[in-house]
């Protein structure tokens, strides 16, 4: 049995995720779409906090809500004239997209609900993950260590920086 506050919090998070992600893909103004994406990302961060992963929630807010949405807003303002609507979609493509999305959601939802009896258990208890253990896992080469992916991501970020400089350089 969960506490009442937890259940209320779950419904707030789930409703805002559903409503704002539908609004993100249906709104006509692209800047509003980016704003609704920001709300979806905040709701996801709240979900991580509720799942007892505070570090992950902080990373989500800092990287997604703080970095990526700002990038989106900047590039929208650079490429869009103000007050510009997204052009009217061709109806066949809209129906195609709706059919593909609804079919995918339907098949996956059917699979989920047919295995619902395995998903019935409530949230198991878990101790807090402090930063020290997290850092040890991230920089160890033992069985559950993640040093190699960590270094691979740092090389990827370096490649991304060089690529960004090369692409954005004015010729």
């Amino acid at each position: 049995m969960e506490s009442v506050g937890n259940i209320i919090m779950y419904f707030v998070i789930a409703l805002s995720i559903i409503v704002f992600s539908v609004l993100t893909v249906t709104t006509r103004k692209i800047l509003r779409s980016a704003t609704y994406l920001l709300f979806v990302l905040f709701a996801t961060a709240a979900l991580y906090f509720q799942m007892d992963y505070p570090f992950l929630g902080a990373v989500q807010i800092a990287v997604y809500a703080g970095g990526i949405v700002v990038l989106f807003v900047f590039s929208i303002l650079l490429t869009q004239r103000p007050g510009d609507d997204a052009a009217q979609l061709i109806s066949t493509r809209r129906w195609l997209g709706a059919v593909a999305a609804i079919a995918g959601v339907g098949v996956t939802g059917y699979a989920l609900f047919s295995y619902a009896k395995f998903c019935g258990k409530q949230l198991p208890a878990m101790g807090d993950i402090d930063m020290a253990t997290l850092g040890h896992f991230l920089l160890s080469t033992d069985k559950w260590g993640y040093l190699l992916p960590f270094e691979a991501v740092s090389v990827l970020l370096l490649a991304c920086i060089i690529g960004g400089v090369v692409i954005a350089r004015r010729r």
Binding site: I17, T24, I68, A87, G97, A98, G109, I129, C160, G163
Partner: protein
Amino acid sequence: MNLTLLMYLIPSLIMFGCGVYGFLTRKNMIAIMISLELMLNSIDINFVVFNRYLFPGQMEGMFFTLFAIAIAAAETALALAIIINVFRIAKDVDINKINKLKF
């Protein structure tokens, strides 16, 4: 009332469906990137929720989400740089008008 695994997977599933819809129907390249972010984000939720419910003491799903967030950020930054460069050359970000590489 219990908060079960299923109740966290449903918002994630709907988020992924919205991402697929937007990815297929939007014509602005930045709007397509926004839909892609929705899909990536729903996958991150799945990793975290499965890790929390099925293997609460371990941290595999959490680390996968951490690396997925880092890679998604790098990919988005690079994609937006490319989009702005395309806009500088073609004066448009509509995918139906940028078709020189298509034929």
